[in-house]
Amino acid sequence: MGVKQGILQKLASLLLRQGKNIFSKVVGQNAKGPPVLHDGLDLGQREAVFQDLPLSTRLEANLKLFQQVTGASYDINIKRFLSGPEKVPAALLYIDGLVDAALLEGLLRAVKIDIFLTGIKDVQKKDILETIRQRLLNISESQVAGDMKELYYGVSMGRAALLFDGTAQALILETQGWKTRTITEPASEPAIRGIREGFIEDIRTNTALIRRRIRSPNLWIESLEIGSLGKAGVAFAYLKGLVAEDVLGELRARLNNIDIDGVLGSGYVEEYITDNPNSLFPSVLSTERVDRVAGALLEGRVAVFVDGSSFALVVPADFNLFLQAPDDYFEPFPLGSLIRFLRYVSFFIALFLPGVYVAILTFHPELLPVSLLLRIQAAREGVPFPVVVETFFMEGVFEILREAGVRLPMLVGPAISIVGALVLGDAAIRAGIVSPGVVVIVAFTAIASFTAPVFSLGLAARILRFIIIILGASFGLLGVQFGLLLILIHLVTLRSLGQPYMAPFAPFIWEDMKDALISLFRWQQVYRPKLLGYREPRRQRPGQKPQPPPQKGEN
């Protein structure tokens, strides 16, 4: 059975290969033969045929083939003209919207008019391409394509292709110039004193933004293409000599392993390079902020950019990184530390407060001061549900409100907040469905959860919160403690590209505490994180504390 199948497979593949060869021969020599890519071919077959289509010396055959391959799509422009004294038939291929019109204009001018003006006499049909390339064009970058694949990918990247009759090659010229979004402040991660520039969807712009901040020859940016159909450009930047080579090798291997049809955003790539796909906690930082990425690079991390996505990925990412915000660094030590610490506290509030509330009211009311307990009980008078149902209900309502708030068009935004805050909150209390205490708790939790500077970490807290509520309602504070320990156990097992996720807390690294729960003065942070930047630990000269100038005794 197995043998038989093997033979069959071999036979089939042999036939397929033979067939392809026949096709390509037909195309190469005789364009009037049967269409290479008939409608019966499926996507995979079409791609396979497309991989291996050489250009012929006849212009018309090439153009016909190109139209067959691209289906004469309406956005692909073909401009035919005659070039040079010999009137060589030529054609210019480009895609509308991806090319710079001015550059194209200059290009056409060169091959149509300048070719006479420059007084080049010896333009022969057979070497017209080389002549033009070397002596006429002032477009800096150009390359020669020998087959349909190179030709198409060039054109699809916004380059223009020049084809001449009698030359089995095409000249691919840099004429890229598509519209990009202007650089704006990142909407999802605002910061008060942070850089106002955020990443955009164009990868070149993004890497340029980084290059402008770190102008070192050791800022290396490697690039590759991911996606069998989509062909998204992916680049990863790092400081050579600082980042650990094994981390880099691992990342490179993971990126090269990706086999996917199209990458529509950095989230796609994130799922392939994360260490813990099953974890609720993010182990890859995705951010729109230039300062975050530049800071991470200086610490010895790697940033991954995906073309078409305004989010860069930072690996290895630890838990601490997700609770750091740019403001911590732009404000001086005591203030920056205060807000950092506040964020840690808020994270735990967002995670545990409703669960603890439910646990205490259900199992341990004696833990509350009597007067407070009496007030809460009085407010709960007439509420028909147990505390856990109330809390679950309100938390659910809030989560729905929040999700609606993100999806809603800008104009309806205020409406939803009115409905949410006033109608649901106030009316629910008056109707006696929930008690004011629960609303206070839920609102406070919600506000606390908004302090997470990175969306994905807040998401983890949002989901786990419900589990903590259930545990608290079932087993009281013992259940909450159980949940806490279980989450911690999970967290200490996580790794991000091999780096322990909970560092510097676990494993505890005293030297790195300077930038964990608090953030010390910039000049006190002499050394890089121990697990990341250990190849070049010192990042600045120690002892740079500013001193007042010596007194001169002039009162």
Binding site: F475, L477, F482, L486, I489, T493, A506
Partner: protein, 373 residues
Amino acid sequence: MFQEKIANRQLFNVFFIMRTTIVISTLPVLTIGRARQDAWLAAVVAFFLGVVFIWLLGRLALNFPEQSIIQYSEALLGKWLGKLFSLFYLGAFLLMGFTDLRTYGEVLRTVFLPETPLAVILGSMVVLAVAVVYAGLEPLGRMGDLIFPVFTLATLFTLFFPVLEADFSNLRPVLYHGWQPVLHAALTPTVITAQYANLTILIPSVNQPQKALRAALYSLLWSSLILVLAAVVVVSLLGADEGAHAAFPVFKMIRAIRVSEFLERVEVFPIFAWGLGLFITLAINLYSLAKGLSQLCRLQNYRPLLLPLAVITSTLALQGYSDSFELRLFFQPQVIAPFIFFILLFPVAILWIAYFFKRKKGPGFPKEKGRGR
């Protein structure tokens, strides 16, 4: 196989947490024997006895820094005799595991969750311990790192408020009944130092095995200081008699005080601390048990043993003692001391003897502190 490593700092954390949890929650220096107001002296004495005890248990392991006691006992005593002694030894981990677990269960049932079934309390802890041990020794060490500051802060917080209201005249007269009751009371905390037997399993996994014993002794020192503090505070606040009759004196004390109008019940802090502490204790004992058993049976991986061992531990914790009085009885020195002597000290003593014999006899046997690693 990949050898997991923990830092000496983590070793210190884990032993500190383990020791402090059990001696503070039961406070044996006060509740057992008749040391009364001299309980803190008993704690001091217990420290010195404990040092000797730990040295006896752990010093031999330093001669075999790459082997656990299960492995070197076979090397010293021969295959079958070694295995037999190892079985005794592993029994100690089981015993300590389920006794500590039951103690926690009794604490919670007595003072915090009177209506929750014991099985739920014990079961939740066993689940957590299995989870972390299944994840490995490194996560366990990291949990120690995470828990250590929280545990220490909560414990000190617990002992801080009573200091404000304490009446230190309760501590007098010192040594009214002489040294005899003090020594008697010091016996149980000394014997509880048997927890440090975990050292003999953990040493091969420690970053610097030669410093492991030192880390363990430091942890005993710090935990003894806290024990002294606890004994002083409890006696001065509750009085020696009331403290000695309480099942869990520190709790009784914390209930007796009232910090302020809005913070009346601070007992959440010690309960939380002991929950965290017991989790570490149980996890370490479970790890030693499973790891030791896997080495005894020459298994590559200890993880398949975890589930059965967890079931055995929780069953024994549930059924091993009928109530807290029986548990307290077990902690009487005349019960616990022979027990520990037989399953722990006796095998180690035999190992020491075998070690000296072998060292005299055979060349090629490790004479110096440790082969370089």
